[in-house]
């Protein structure tokens, strides 16, 4: 597979504080790639260095096989975490300005803008000042500025931050559609549940250091054992010699003790007064892996 992003031995410090420490990972063409980490873990710094907004201290950061240069912005859509918009400009003027900055002609920028605005239901508002739009509409404009030029790579820093549920769903649908079109999507987040559903591959960082990296399944396998997900009626039995568990009145997530076969646990449960509705063996959720890796620190 073709590498779209290649980061190798990358380090960045601010004064005496190391923000990112010797980080390495690759993103392949067509991937939806999640960049996971808690607040202040170094995600934004990495993206800023990748786009040459910050200068790295050491290491290699390549996009499309070479260091970033502004001419690449034609192929990249970037949505920063701290995003905003010129409130006193007309919607259509912003699309043309961003298009022109990416090296796209005014005519093409206008065509792209009309397509996008039509799609998200904002075409009637194209000549309005941004300040006249609702916050939900402004969010669509912000996202549109990153997507309007049909980029090959989308770099999204906390894309779900501040989105209302409707725009969030719209965004997820767009992710899936863009992936089908072959667009590579890299996004940072600390909303882990969403990442488990969406991503092909991921990296988890904590305090600027890589903690896990690979496909979602690989990371879940590598950093956790099999869990049993149970739905039941009756009284859930505690059997500490066989497992530990997190249970509610109707569900339980059972973590088998080392060397205990899940089948043995099933038999034990069937022998109890419990009425089992469903029994499923699965890997730990990405959320659990993420929390466990963060706790390791």
């Amino acid at each position: 597979m073709k590498k779209i992003i290649e980061i190798k031995d990358f380090t960045k410090s601010f004064g005496s504080q190391t923000a990112v420490d010797n980080l390495s990972f690759d993103v392949y063409e067509g991937d939806i790639f999640a960049f996971l980490g808690s607040n202040g873990s170094g995600k934004t710094t990495t993206i800023r260095c990748l786009l040459d907004i910050y200068t790295p201290d050491s290491g290699t950061l390549h996009l499309f096989g070479r260091p970033y240069e502004f001419s690449m912005s034609k192929d990249i859509g970037y949505l920063p975490e701290e995003r905003g918009i010129y409130t006193r400009s007309r919607v259509i003027d912003l699309f043309v300005y961003f298009g022109n900055l990416r090296g796209i002609s005014t005519k093409d920028a206008l065509d792209n803008a009309h397509q996008y605005l039509e799609r998200v239901g904002l075409i009637e508002h194209k000549d309005k000042q941004v300040s006249q739009l609702s916050s939900g509409m402004q969010q669509k404009v912000q996202v549109g500025l990153a997507l309007q030029h049909h980029p090959r790579l989308l770099l999204l820093d906390e894309p779900f931050k501040g989105l209302d549920p409707l725009n969030r769903q719209l965004f997820i649908e767009m992710f899936k559609e863009l992936k089908e079109q072959g667009v590579t999507i890299v996004y940072s987040t600390h909303v882990i549940d969403e990442a488990q559903r969406l991503t092909d591959r991921l990296v988890i960082i904590n305090d600027g250091k890589r903690k896990a990296y690979g496909t979602t399944e690989e990371v879940r396998k590598t950093h956790g054992s099999e869990h049993i997900h149970l739905e039941f009626t009756g009284k859930f039995p505690k059997r500490s010699e066989l497992y530990t568990s997190v249970s509610t009145t109707k569900t339980a997530e059972i973590i088998p003790n080392k060397g205990v076969d899940p089948e043995e646990i099933l038999q034990e449960l069937l022998a109890s007064d419990l009425r089992i509705i469903s029994f499923r063996i699965d890997l730990p959720s990405l959320n659990e892996v993420f929390i466990a890796l963060s706790k390791d620190e």
Binding site: I53, Y78, P80, R83, G84, R88, Y97, N100, L101, L145
Partner: protein, 408 residues
């Protein structure tokens, strides 16, 4: 299109489409003219006080062919003279301070002459006040004489000749004020108003969280220079509008005879205009660079505005002692503020317009202002890079100093 030009075009259109831009363009000059009129009125009052100042001079010759001045008023330092030409030459050679000449037809023509060394605007006005005081005082001393009433009621105008240090004549009158007045007005309006646009542009971009997005497509250098270029264009648009409006008003006034001033433009120092334009441009670039740095480190537009007030005050400081500067444009104070970065361009414009600066001095002034612009631009870029992505807080003084002192 080059990215810098894209930024310039966007900034230009964004600025000239604003209502505030046209408000400033159309109404600020009116306000300033009102302020200048009030100031001019104060100056007229001041010239009366200078009648006393003129008493301190060493030698003033009065030639009274019209026989208007009482003999009792001739006492040291006021001396009676016979030949206007001879007295004129004495002033030119620096032997005497001034000569006031009342020709035979003074009362019918309503005109007299003053010849003086270049002693600054207010002192020269003082000679005119002194001459008119002589006539009034003489009229009071012979109140029973029928000509006395004409002496008091006849409006008099003076033709003033000013000799420079080397004995060459210098213009004095409306012509002398047109260039410095208009130059300073344009300088003030374009530098301070357009400088504020720069502050607004950078600070709002930071406040609106747009900068990071832009910096992924264009370098900070191109972004700032593009803004400078676009806002310089906006400033020139303002200048053109003002020139058209001002020129139109003068032409309209002359055509309707509501402006009854005979302006001899050949006497105005028009040759200083190109240099004044360059100083205005340098002053704008310097001030806009300072505003860029301030906008970069402020947390919001309001915060940046309050930070910028320090630099605005520094820049307008010369207005507090404008009288001294006009009276003595080559004095110590004028020399000092000529080389202070925040006032240099403005003071050079003033001095270049009202006094004769040597080409060397003008050249050095341009060079030093160029250096100030380069330094301000460099520091502004560093401050912008430091603060533009620092949301919700200002950089600490330690961080600012570290960045400013860092090489490269």
């Amino acid at each position: 299109m080059n990215r810098m030009l894209v930024v310039a075009k966007f900034e230009y259109l964004k600025t000239v489409k604003r209502k505030a831009f046209w408000f400033a363009t159309l109404f600020m000059p009116v306000m300033i003219v009102v302020i200048m009129a009030v100031s001019a009125f104060s100056s007229v009052e001041g010239s009366k006080r200078l009648e006393q100042v003129s008493e301190s001079i060493d030698h003033i010759t009065v030639i009274d062919e019209a026989g208007l001045i009482s003999e009792s008023l001739f006492s040291d330092p006021v001396f009676k003279g016979d030949s206007f030409e001879q007295a004129r030459q004495q002033v030119q050679s620096g032997e005497t301070d001034a000569v006031v000449f009342f020709p035979e037809d003074t009362l019918t023509s309503g005109s007299y002459q003053v010849v003086t060394k270049d002693v600054g605007l207010f002192q020269t006005f003082g000679y005119q006040g002194f001459a008119e005081a002589l006539i009034q005082q003489s009229a009071y001393e012979r109140i029973d004489d029928p000509t006395a009433i004409a002496m008091i009621t006849q409006p008099l105008s003076s033709q003033v000749t000013v000799f420079g240090e080397n004995g060459q004549t210098q213009p004095f009158g409306v012509e002398r004020f047109i260039v410095p007045g208009v130059s300073l007005l344009f300088f003030f309006l374009s530098v301070f108003i357009s400088g504020q646009y720069m502050l607004q542009s950078v600070a709002e971009e930071k406040e609106n969280r747009m900068i990071e997005n832009l910096l992924s497509m264009v370098s900070s250098r191109s972004l700032i220079f593009g803004k400078l270029l676009g806002l310089t264009g906006a400033a020139f648009t303002q200048l053109i509008v003002w020139a058209v409006l001002g020129g139109g008003a003068v032409i309209f006034g002359i055509a309707n005879e509501s402006i009854d001033v005979a302006i001899d433009f050949s006497q105005a120092p028009l040759e200083t205009i190109p240099v004044n334009i360059i100083f205005t441009l340098l002053g704008f670039l310097f001030f806009a660079s300072v505003m860029t740095g301030v906008g970069g480190i402020g947390t919001s537009y309001k915060d940046s505005q309050s930070l910028s007030s320090v630099f605005v005050i520094l820049s307008v400081l010369p207005f507090y002692f404008i009288t001294i500067l006009l009276s003595d444009p080559n004095g110590v104070i004028a020399q000092v503020v000529s080389y202070f970065p925040f006032t240099s361009a403005m003071i050079f414009i003033l001095r270049n317009s009202i006094t004769t600066l040597s080409p060397l001095e003008v050249g050095f002034g341009l060079l030093i202002n160029l250096v100030y612009v380069a330094l301000a631009g460099l520091l502004a870029l560093k401050l912008f890079n430091l603060g533009s992505l620092m949301y919700n807080r200002r950089p600490k003084m330690r961080e600012i100093m570290h960045v400013l002192l860092k090489r490269g």
